[in-house]
Symmetry: C2
Subunit: 311 residues, 2 copies
């Protein structure tokens, strides 16, 4: 895979804004994507924090088409395309390749539990063989506390052996640094890009040769996370990481997706930003007040473009 223009650095599972009737707000979605791109954060649209599994295949296809039509750079996109049904994963993945996306982030099928590596291998192999397009780059998505179906080392090895040009990396959302480190040590030397699942592990990931991070908090603290990625060799790196952690820790005290949406709703003066599709729900009024209090205490405001672009 040497010489490929591969995705590295910071990406964010882009929050999906809804209207009161639970339809997607296309205009706010595009606006938010534009902000992230300006702040040097790539678009891992349709991730866990995007409520992607609360969107239909058709809705995801339409939104990706819209992004491309609106001139957002497909070369900085890594849409989530892994579904329970391999037929859906094929449709979404093929569509992403056609749109020119740099890669796709693929959950394993997550309905059935206790499935075998053979079954998971067949799932990915069926997608790759059916699409049969040299442009396809798949990033595996390991998030076992949500899927309950993990992606183990043996499976990665088997996939890399069978599809070395297609299986491009992994997002490790295990939340366990030792697991991320083991992935980097074993697979990164071969060009298999390991992304930490959140920015608390960004500096360590980069120092050990990993590719970056794909992080929810990129939706609200994009510029600072991207800055650490760009300057991790500087003397300021450790203190930058500390500052990132301070922000992350506030959001993590609450359900993350509603908390980020609440903060953006307040920052942008758009109450509708707080809306989530069922089964997720917005913060309670008490939680929203507490979040605002905590963020004000550190003078944090989501994605202040004027500040961050000037820096």
């Amino acid at each position: 895979m040497a010489g490929m223009n591969k995705l590295r650095g910071v990406l964010s599972p882009v929050l999906t804004p809804f209207n009161a009737d639970y339809s997607v707000s296309a205009s706010r979605f595009i606006g938010h994507c534009r902000t992230l791109i300006k702040l040097n954060v790539g678009l891992a649209v349709f991730g866990t924090n995007s409520e992607a599994n609360s969107l239909s295949v058709k809705e995801k296809r339409q939104l990706l088409d819209l992004l491309v039509e609106e001139g957002l750079p497909a070369g900085k996109m890594m849409p989530g395309t892994g579904c329970c049904a391999v037929s859906d994963s094929i449709e979404l993945t093929r569509h992403a390749v056609s749109a020119g996306c740099a890669g796709v982030l693929m959950l394993p099928p997550f309905y059935y539990k206790g499935v075998s590596d053979e079954g998971l291998f067949r799932n990915y192999a069926t997608v790759i063989d059916t699409i049969a397009d040299a442009r396809l780059r798949i990033y595996l998505y390991h998030i076992p506390h949500v899927t309950q179906v993990g992606i183990g080392f043996d499976l990665i090895e088997r996939l890399l052996k069978a599809y070395p040009d297609t299986v491009a990396g992994i997002k490790d959302s295990s939340g366990d640094w030792n697991h991320t480190l083991a992935l980097i040590n074993r697979f990164q030397p071969d060009g298999f890009d390991v992304f930490a699942g959140s920015e608390p592990f960004l500096l360590q990931t980069l120092r050990h040769g990993g590719a970056g991070c794909i992080t929810a908090t990129g939706n609200v603290n994009a510029a600072a996370i991207a800055r650490l990625n760009a300057t991790w060799n500087d003397d300021t790196a450790d203190s930058q990481q500390q500052e990132l952690d301070t922000v992350r820790n506030i959001f993590q005290k609450f359900p993350m997706i509603p908390a980020m949406k609440s903060a953006i709703a307040r920052q942008t003066g758009t109450p509708e930003w707080s809306i989530l599709r069922p089964p997720l729900v917005e913060l309670t009024e008490d939680q929203a007040r507490q979040l605002q209090h905590d963020l004000s205490a550190i003078d944090f405001h989501p994605n202040e473009l004027s500040d961050t672009l000037a820096s």
Copy 2:
């Protein structure tokens, strides 16, 4: 709900037959549905044992259309329509109502874990309010070891209060008889139909006033299970239940879906019946041999029409 022609008795999550390229075999699907209907087993198509979450929304719509076109009785159908995305659940549920199905069996959205009852209530309420059709009958699907998202008593109570004419019952696949009994005692007197999730609990369910069972093994032992349902007041009931359990215990020693497909493949002389979509896989050769050995030892053959229809 008194006076409604409600589904009762035995239904089966109909196995979905695939071809070698993982496409659905429409002809074998229809044939299998015809067999079950002849044997007095209703069609809970698109259940867990149907590998329904390995099928796309479009595939499920087409298969349901096909069944109706082929003259299978929609009044004996309870398709699974609960998806992760409420937009998908709405589409499939509306389609099932239009097709005249007696009811739908709805999983809760199962990607996000630790979700609130408020979020689950909104999921079902959004489906019901959006479809807004008096013909809609929803059966809740409680299968926590797979979904990791359960349907608790408080949620049922809230749904029944809000939608007494629509929320019609539950399939309890907890595998815990005490849980099924508690559901019957609390909700069945109000006409909320409690179905056991498998036939080992059929006799107890009927004796306590429950509605029947929706069971995987209905795919292979349809006639005998339906017979117990019809004759549970007879002196033979306990020995019938024992015989059902003997068969069930054999299939349960193996992964259930591949085991049932293997038995049907052998019985019908159609090796393709053994195929499963990823992430599930067929039995190993050793497992298939062992299953055949165990079934031969009790002289069991899946759905022998000549025998069962004559009785």
